[in-house]
Symmetry: C2
């Protein structure tokens, strides 16, 4: 049942698929990919440059990408990775696999949950900091939306990215609202 479907569709490894997805757009170096995972696709799936390089080595071993070195002068050589046919097949199979719920892990909520064992003024500051972080993210998303996705004639690929971005924007603006409410509620406890 579950196990058979899992075996049939292959292993979990969503970072591998996220990298392959980026490479369907254009061949890239590990460095380029690391930057992509620190912005754009990184808004929905974060990865460090170390993870990217390790995963690229595995993808190469499995024949899902092909890598060739480009000589440069004055700079380190680049290694450009191109997705193979087998890699494209993996992406398609992955798209058929059911999605998992994103795992919840938020220390701030745990601290609220544990309010009796926590320094409340410090928690207050931590909520303020978090509020600023979400405001900053929201502003960044708005800037990207206006700059890249405000036209009428968007391709299908662009429309997909716009839907994801729109979800990110509602998520962040909801967090801004709710954190404000949480800060108020916490203030009422302490007085």
């Amino acid at each position: 049942m579950h196990i058979i479907a899992y075996r049939f569709f292959g292993e979990i490894m969503a970072l591998a698929e996220a990298i392959l997805v980026c490479l369907t757009d254009r061949p890239m170096s590990g460095y380029d990919l690391a930057k992509t995972f620190d912005a754009s696709i990184g808004f929905f799936w974060r990865a460090s440059h170390q993870q990217v390089y390790r995963e690229l080595a595995r993808l190469r071993d499995k024949g899902l990408v092909e890598s060739r070195e480009i000589e440069q002068s004055g700079r380190p050589n680049r290694i450009i990775h191109t997705i193979t046919g087998a890699g494209e097949d993996i992406v398609h199979l992955w798209s058929l696999k059911p999605c998992r719920m994103p795992s919840v892990k938020d220390e701030l909520l745990v601290k609220l949950y544990a309010l009796d064992n926590v320094d409340i003024p410090v928690l207050h500051e931590q909520l303020d900091i978090r509020l600023d972080q979400h405001r900053a993210k929201l502003a960044a998303y708005h800037r990207i939306k206006e700059k890249f996705y405000d036209g009428q004639n968007l391709t299908r690929a662009q429309k997909g990215k716009l839907i994801a971005l729109t979800m990110g924007i509602s998520n962040e603006s909801q967090m801004v609202k709710t954190l404000g409410k949480a800060i108020t509620m916490l203030g009422e406890i302490d007085e």
Copy 2:
């Protein structure tokens, strides 16, 4: 105090602190803790029973919990874990540490981001499934709120849990709204 012990404790390990927080409420077995991490505190920090047992072994080695076996007949014996003074110190120090932003990792958003490489009807179904999952979570949160946090005379600890739960509720109801919007947007692409 036990500040030096805390330096040995490492940087990340929020599961350890989450377990200690649960044990400040009452001594518990690993089995009880695993269930707690599958509900209540698990709404904000998820962990499997394997993780819980492994972490309990470490906490015991470090003297942050004390464990004693309770004989039972007809059932496996229970091992009850009690937080020590050193464990309580760790919780307090943890509460002063800045919180990290929860890391974003959502395959569904990655699939939207990668719309050109994805089976769109299947993605549609996956969005519907996700919508149902968030609706179910929202309903569960509402039930808990009404059952346990609707009175007037809440303790401070209860008020903290209520704030966290309130944030969970707005988060889920926002997801329900936004997913509806995303499904509409995706439908307009496909037509």
